[in-house]
Symmetry: C2
Amino acid sequence: MLNNQGAADLDSVFHALADPTRRAIVARLCEGPASVSELAKPFAMSLPAIVQHLQVLEHSGLVRSEKIGRVRSCSIVPGTVREAEAWLGLRRTSAERRLDRLEGFLNQNHPAKPI
Amino acid sequence: MLNNQGAADLDSVFHALADPTRRAIVARLCEGPASVSELAKPFAMSLPAIVQHLQVLEHSGLVRSEKIGRVRSCSIVPGTVREAEAWLGLRRTSAERRLDRLEGFLNQNHPAKPI
DNA sequence: TTGATTGTTAAGCACATGCTTAAGTATTCG
DNA sequence: CGAATACTTAAGCATGTGCTTAACAATCAA
């Protein structure tokens, strides 16, 4: 299989999110499931193009889908969104802790004088 | 200018993060500033390749750099990391609120019976 | 069964990406 | 000065991306 039952690698997750059409699809699916043509409706783009975007999103683990009759229902996978967010969160907090220490160090040696 | 004084558009931020070499550079810079050759050292890749990755990161607003003498010092821009994280956070929470409402609805109509 | 709906597959094209090597430019050190 | 250091620029190449159109299923509804 592509990923561990849809567990995403960050390469494909961030790549999937790097396109505005795909981010809009993700945003839409965060409000609830939708069919392929429902997802396509807002865009000035052929249906196959949307299907290709959905393939990128599904490959990344951000979206899953199930075909019932002739309709494919797509929905978000919140866990994958959380993974990408967590990667960013870890780096950001580590960078900000470092900046806090730096600020502390600067205040210690050159205390900010009021006015 | 490329962006509003480095204020990132999500396209270029997520695209920058979609490469493992660039994510490793970001992770390294979250521990503190570094020169181009320091950043290049861990990778089995030519220096120009690293410089190109740094250009992608700087264009996205994730990294900034300043050249002093012959050394270019690179550092992280925490605000940009925070922007990307915030986009994901908003979508995730909205998706999860929706799932919570759905769960509440299901419990209301088919209450989970103990054992 | 006929026709409309909903998606799928395949081929192709313009352009972007991620590397490479080779040849430059500054800057600092002895 | 001359040599070493630290990038920088340019060109080229294989592969990937984001679309298109055209043709093909599969399903549902009259």
